[in-house]
Symmetry: C2
DNA sequence: GGCTATTTGTTCAGCGATTGAATTATTTGG
DNA sequence: CCAAATAATTCAATCGCTGAACAAATAGCC
């Protein structure tokens, strides 16, 4: 992970253009229908003249294109709709997880233009070797992107663990990684993307954070606030506030798996007692449902559980209800604290939503003081298992849209 | 409470000036020693010429004055230090609580220039009457401020309850208020402050939020992230992220009192079980220490408790340890979720910090995964019981400093 | 004491980006 | 076919920042 761009300090004469380019591009990105220059002018308060000039820059920089079929009504010269370009910069998304590598390419508009998943047990593989394999896949993705007219402008990598500001994976328990300096390891390998001013070549971030960003990207586009919970072996959460990921003082926010739900309950590997993970983690649910994780491949666990629940297995239903209750207690804490109106169940939880939702809502309505006035929505994630990779690629795209000047300034 | 200013949309030609005025004034406000124009120029990246022009505007607008005794070293023309003016705009802070009304005036530099506390049991008093008394006190404060050369530019009111965007107190249980439209009630009374562009005449907000802001103001000034916990009859928290109060989707964040700490524990008035308030609220601590709240005036409760703890009362020490443990469990949840590095104990908790801190730190180090790498500081609040009123006044000052153009544009 | 180096703050012509009005382009409706 | 309406562009004017030159004020040195 990397420090966020941060609020603008002083506004120099030149920054003015940069800011307005970002404002106009941002409007085009979040609009639900292709806006015309005139609409952009009234929305932003800028003059039509200014908007025209800005849009021209964006078009020549391959960030925006004109969409001819613009819906009309009434008299007057027809507007030319503006949409994000499908042949400009794109983001490269990478993911290393316990049992697969994933690579994807997402264009400015958020469309997934390329996607590869390489299944393999990564636990016995050294970090250097895992990254080598990933770079190989990335090379193919880059060629594929070029064939589609896209330029990879930056990359982001999701890992299931804690990452510090320098991109070092401090701890990824399920992967067996500790203090892995990813940027240094990648430095010796072929570059993943073009060099673009203002876009770091590689950003390493927590998988749960990136999944939340992926969900944000998949949503309607406007600013949103929600809690995205990834239920895997561990339980991680990404907190999106007003359309931005909240990372905390050191980037280690969202460790919802170790929120205490039964303060004097089961001992947890973290040293605490009664952590959520002990009641709603994948292992706990499977054990309660009478399944042995060793019996089935890791990625089929939630599929199997869904089958059992659908056929009405008493054990499975009870296990899910208990897990949902524990989850609800933790979520109630979060909602009390942050006053969020949406909770997204992602990762392995997504297909289990029909069974998890009722007990979660139950606990929320019981424990959240303001629930009566402001209902909380609990819904499954829009993206599937590849949310982290898509979110990683999307984070690159977000960066370009937030500061298009860097891309426009590139030579060529 | 009111919607936060929000990020600038488009940057018009004129906004450029506004932004740079804010940048320069902000630097002056947060500097630890009076900066010179030259220092400001290098810090902000603006030219000395530009900074001079901006500073001139700020000085003629009575926001900044030159501090003659500027500390020097080396050769060269001596710099003239710039400090926030003590005779310009000021904020009016108001507080209505269960057993007192408070009014204070805070100037740009954060100094408290006037302070009145009016003790009275407010529970039997109607909201309209309470506000009438408050306006009377505010009138005196306004005269006092004028005598000191200050102009009241806006007011904020803290109440112990939930406030919606329109300033209506939806629920203040300990005050017995429900759906009280404060702005409408004040509309019939004499105005509290001058009318300044961009500053709402009255902002109503939760007491815990404002206390957190007060703490932020009392701190070193730089951006900070912390959790401020007000331990009163109820337990409220204010979350400060990067120097800004986090309010949540509807402004109802920080309801830490109803975080479940013992999921199947004591029933709470909110309908849940095992809420923090049941273990670390004022009533719970007093009861556990063998004190009856009815026996002593509300505001002396924590004083009495401190005495008992200092004399080594076994019951009191046990009560505080238990409360601290419960508090620690809740705080651990918050830190796991938000990765904050500082927890401030405010309100009634502040004097009890010596006894509460050990169990709180204990639970944090046990339950927070990242605690080993990133220690969490637990400290008492810098401000006392008047934190909310001071924070309220400070919130007005913050607003002026964040957007000085509004004040500068006023006629006169 | 006088000179130089050094740093601060101001003045002023120049420039870049936005502005606002006028102009051109393109369609609907009568 | 013409008038009304809306969209987009052109262009001189304007506003605020820039950069360099200049004036001001002090310390150190001979």
């Amino acid at each position: 992970m990397t420090p966020t761009p941060g609020p603008v300090g002083a506004v120099r004469q030149g920054s003015l253009r940069e800011l307005n380019l970002a404002v106009v591009l941002g409007r085009i990105a979040t609009a639900d229908r292709p806006p015309s220059r005139a609409v952009l002018a009234t929305e932003t308060g800028l003059t039509r003249a200014t908007v025209s000039a800005l849009v021209e820059d964006l078009i020549t920089g391959r960030l925006v294109t004109e969409a001819e079929p613009a819906p009309r009504s009434g008299a007057g010269r027809p507007a030319r709709g503006l949409v994000l370009a499908g042949n400009g910069p794109a983001g490269l998304g990478l993911e290393i997880n316990v049992d697969y590598l994933a690579v994807c390419v997402v264009d400015l508009a958020g469309r997934v233009r390329h996607h590869t998943v390489h299944r393999a047990d990564l636990r016995p593989v050294s970090p250097a070797d895992a990254l080598r394999r990933l770079v190989e896949l990335a090379g193919q993705a880059r060629a594929e992107a070029a064939a589609q007219g896209l330029t990879l402008a930056g990359a982001a990598l999701g890992v299931p663990g804690l990452v510090d500001d320098a991109g070092t994976v401090r701890l990824a328990p399920n992967l067996g990684w500790r203090d892995v300096p990813v940027p240094a390891l990648l430095a010796g390998l072929p570059p993943l993307t073009e060099r673009v001013d203002g876009i770091p070549p590689i950003v390493v971030d927590n998988e749960a954070n990136l999944s939340a960003l992926g969900e944000l990207h998949a949503g309607s586009g406007g600013p949103a606030s929600f809690l995205h919970i990834s239920g895997e072996v561990g339980i991680g959460a990404g907190i999106v506030l007003d359309g931005d990921l909240f990372r905390g003082a050191r980037g280690w926010s969202g460790e919802i798996g170790h929120i205490p739900v039964h303060s004097a309950g089961r001992a947890c590997s973290c040293g605490g007692r009664g952590c959520l993970e002990q009641y709603a983690g994948q292992e706990a649910i499977l054990a309660a449902a009478g399944l042995d994780r060793a019996d089935l491949p890791a990625d089929t666990a939630s599929v199997r559980l869904t089958e059992l629940a659908e056929t009405g297995s008493v054990d499975a239903l009870r296990a899910l209800r208990e897990a949902g209750t524990a989850l609800g207690i933790a979520v109630a804490s979060v909602v009390n604290l942050l006053d969020l109106d949406t909770v997204v169940l992602g990762g392995g939880y997504a297909p289990l939503t029909p069974w998890l939702r009722p007990p979660v809502l139950d606990e929320i309505s019981r424990r959240v003081l303001t629930a009566a006035w402001s209902p909380v929505t609990v819904r499954p994630a829009a993206l599937g298992a590849d949310a982290a990779a898509v979110g990683a690629a999307g984070s690159v795209v977000r960066r370009i849209i937030a500061r298009p000047a860097g891309w426009l300034a590139r030579t060529g």
